[in-house]
Symmetry: C2
């Protein structure tokens, strides 16, 4: 995109007169598309699972509690499209396919793992907040 | 939850014989509920917007490009329920209501901001990955 290209569909605060700056708030920005793909309900947990190392499909299915075969398959395709994971078919019988993070995937998934760590460390705070809100 | 409480609905890898450990992968864990609330399509962007300071409803509506009034309202309620933001009605006419992060919200939103920074800094990598995937 050149400095003169029109920027459409961005919030009033994000209209720029100068060169395009990536902005996760702007609907048409590539970073927003990546953000939405990464923070999806299942994609986010799949990324965190892969921080621990490459996984096979069935291993991911067991690790990410509640994911269906269809949703896991869709999530893996979406993450491969974003360049965050690779799919390696070892060409063996029975088939063996491994999913592993790319270097970009490692960086992104590490940020999600850090977020999950905060949440795991503060479960009682969330439970207290929910009880208070629901009791109002 | 006591050490003897049964843990149900967790993935095979997450069944524990010992005391309950918070685990974002486990369907019934309070950290998983928080993770899903926080990584929602609009809640995540609202949290990042509030890193910059308190906002009024209309300000958030403009900042988070594409959010409808209804979805923003639902997102704000969900985040208030998780204890991540406070709603302050100044009791003035015309009404003025501010939304601001709690200390827990600051910590969580900071992790999301860090994730968004990675994505904004690597937009060309995502665009190249998508073009390659779609061209296969």
């Amino acid at each position: 995109m050149t400095a003169d290209a029109p920027i459409t569909n961005v919030g009033a605060d994000d209209r720029l007169d100068g060169p395009f700056e990536p902005n996760v708030f702007a609907r048409d920005c590539g970073s927003r598309a990546a953000f939405e793909a990464i923070t999806g309900r299942w994609t986010s947990l799949v990324l965190i699972a892969l921080v621990e190392g490459p996984h096979r499909f069935g291993e991911l299915r067991r690790r990410v509690d509640g994911v269906s075969e269809k949703m896991l398959s869709q999530s893996l395709h979406a993450l491969e499209r974003e360049g965050l994971l690779t799919r390696t078919d070892h060409g063996t019988l029975p088939p063996r396919v491994d999913y592993a993070l790319t270097p970009l995937g490692v960086e992104v998934a590490g940020r999600l793992r850090a977020l999950a760590d905060v949440l795991q460390d503060t479960v009682p705070l969330f439970e207290a907040a929910r009880a208070e809100y629901d009791g109002q």
